[in-house]
């Protein structure tokens, strides 16, 4: 999630996320959403075919998951932004769109099928598992207990690096990977305002990036 360099992208994105990213499960037609006037990854490309898809995630469950997988230091507002952005990203996905086929590609390749149905089912399955294992809804478990359940669910996932969000085999990984790929997360990791993959003033590049404010707030 990056600024587009126009100076207006962030505010437009926030408007979009307020209106379209939240969250109730429903069905819309991708390619005709009213939010398309804004510049955002979730805005369908101009020549996308219209395809009916189920959108959204169970918000209470997703927020409970975020509390377990994302850093507590983000705070409630930071987690809320992460889940909102994540859902908007999921909703904006166009299954089987053409991949970038640049150097080294001999053929046209296509993105995978929509991962969202499986992720939604996994979210529900976490709640089912919590109820079976503890007789308590996932949302009401202490964070540490939620993390124990995730440890069991993710036991076969390799750990040398996070997957690309789109390739995540579980919704918990998808949420974590999506946040970790953001400029905000990278700034937190580096402890400095680098804001990778964003359009920025060229000549500022010669200076050492400024440290983050002591509160840990990232741009």
């Amino acid at each position: 999630m990056t600024d587009n360099g126009s100076g207006t992208g962030e505010s437009a994105r926030r408007t979009f996320l307020k209106t379209a990213g939240v969250i109730a499960v429903g069905t819309v037609t991708v390619g005709s959403a009213a939010a398309c006037a804004v510049k955002d990854p979730a805005t369908p490309a101009p020549d996308d075919a219209e395809t009916t898809r189920t959108l959204g995630m169970d918000q209470p469950l997703l927020e409970a998951l975020a509390e377990a997988v994302l850093p507590a230091s983000l705070g409630a507002a930071g987690r809320r932004e992460a889940t909102t952005t994540f859902v908007a990203w999921v909703n904006g996905y166009e299954p089987v769109a053409e991949e970038m086929h640049g150097y080294g590609y001999a053929d046209v390749r296509y993105l995978p099928a929509d991962p969202a149905p499986a992720w939604r089912a996994q979210l529900q399955a976490l709640d089912t598992l919590a109820r079976k294992a503890t007789r308590t809804p996932f949302t009401q478990l202490p964070v540490a207990r939620r993390q124990e359940l995730l440890d069991a669910v993710l036991r076969t996932e390799r750990g040398d690096r996070l997957p690309a969000p789109l390739g995540a085999g579980h919704v918990a990984l998808a949420l974590l990977a999506h946040w970790s790929a953001s400029p905000t997360a990278w700034n937190l990791a580096l402890g400095a305002k680098v804001t990778p993959a964003s359009c920025r003033v060229l000549n500022d590049a010669i200076r050492k990036p400024l440290p983050l404010a002591p509160t840990g707030a990232a741009t």
Partner: protein, 539 residues
Amino acid sequence: MIIHTGTLTTHEADICIIGSGITAALMAAHLSEHTKKSILVVEAGKPTTPLTQRAQARERFLAYGESPWKSDHVDDQNALGTTWGFSPSMHVGGLAMHWGGVSPRYSPEDFQLRSLYGVGSDWPFTYDELDPFYQEAEERMGVAGEQGPLALDPRGKPYPLPPLPINYNLAQLQGWASTAGIATWSTPSAKNSVPHDGRAQCQRCDTCYPVCPSGAKYSPDFTWDALLAAKKITLLTESLVRRLEADPKSGRITRATGNRTDAAGAPFEIRAGAFVLAAGFVWSPHLLLLSKSSAFPNGLANRSGLVGKYLAGHRNVNAYLRLPMELFPGINVQHSLVSKQFMRPGKLSRYLRHDLRIWESSVGREPRLRDEQGGLLLGDAMLKEWQGRAKGATARVRGYYDVLPDRDSALALDTSRTNRWGDPMPRVAFKDAPESAALRAFQEESLRELFRRMAKAGNGEILRMENSANDLGQEHPTGGCRMGTDPLSSVVDAFGRAHEHENLWVGGAPTQPTASCCNGTLTFTAVGLRTAAAIARAS
């Protein structure tokens, strides 16, 4: 002029350019300024994503990996085989719509390999003869650069734009390289270091490849848009030239024929005084081979039997090094340091020339799911572990070394795969010349040893090293219509004119006997401009 006769549409022009990639664009610009001739450009594909939509296309590329380039290929028109360096892309502007903009020149040695080192082939002209056309290409594209040490980086005039800045990360890496005895400087790039030619200054969005959202990176559509606005050319899109026809006696090309690539596929012909093949190293020889007739049974321009032969390129060795310094990955990932120190090695006991590029890198510093003990990392534990590894520095270094082509490094027609009209598609198979194959292990080990030495000089360590993937062919490929003075050993003369067809010219990469050991696009265009100047003189 356009004439309709039944279903056949006839286009007439003084000069017909086949292909609309970066070489074609610069050649058309030159011709439009140096002749009064009418110019018709014919392209099989469509226009792709316009500048106004590239910011959004970039966002979706970053978010999902979606191609930013819409309608950029013709479904049944693709090459087979080892294909690194080109893609199915077929649209107005060609591959350079998504190139990285890196624009080094070859070194003087590249034009005299046989004379200096006893390997490969000499070109029929020297670096000095190409220098003004390098300059013209750099000025037309707006290349930002700084001249390296004179002995390593000769040039007749300064770069048209100041260099992209050596950013904080690269400044640290430049100091390290200096410790290792290597002179580096800002990689020349066709990106606006300052506002230029009505386009914005670079904003280091770091998606130069595959899409620049601001227009700061040069792409050929800018030239086409300007030429069309000034009514200096006619651009015929969705029109696949499938054959060139030549007069059996004079050899002159009389017409090009083909079909529209839309659903109807209507036939067309083009009659022109001169034909310029500027369709890259695949489609240029492919068209010549397709254009066989009773008078030219091996295809056009092919008395030597060398059309489609001597495909050249280079491979690389790549390494990631951990260094004891502090870098911040993401300041400007796609910009780099370059050195030509190893492209100008002087006398050699065994032939090895290579470039050297140095980048910042995030390798080894990405977030992880598990700690060293295999424990799951979630929440603050994950961030803390990440913060610990994010400190420090990783550098990426890479050297291209040149691969000297075998005669049978070739493109051929493959009748097992045809387009909708039954034309066989090209099959590409690169092959090293025996002398080059014999050097390969030595060359790659020499690069690995250089990287080890560089790591040691900086008290660093190698994280990993890797070679080019063998199944991808070679990078920045050239050849297929090699130039030379002897019609028995070349397809075109030193100016790109076909030996057998006085009004047929080939522009850019296909004509090059070798491909050096650095990014090739600037040279492709400079060679094309030299041909354009010859066409202008001839007309």
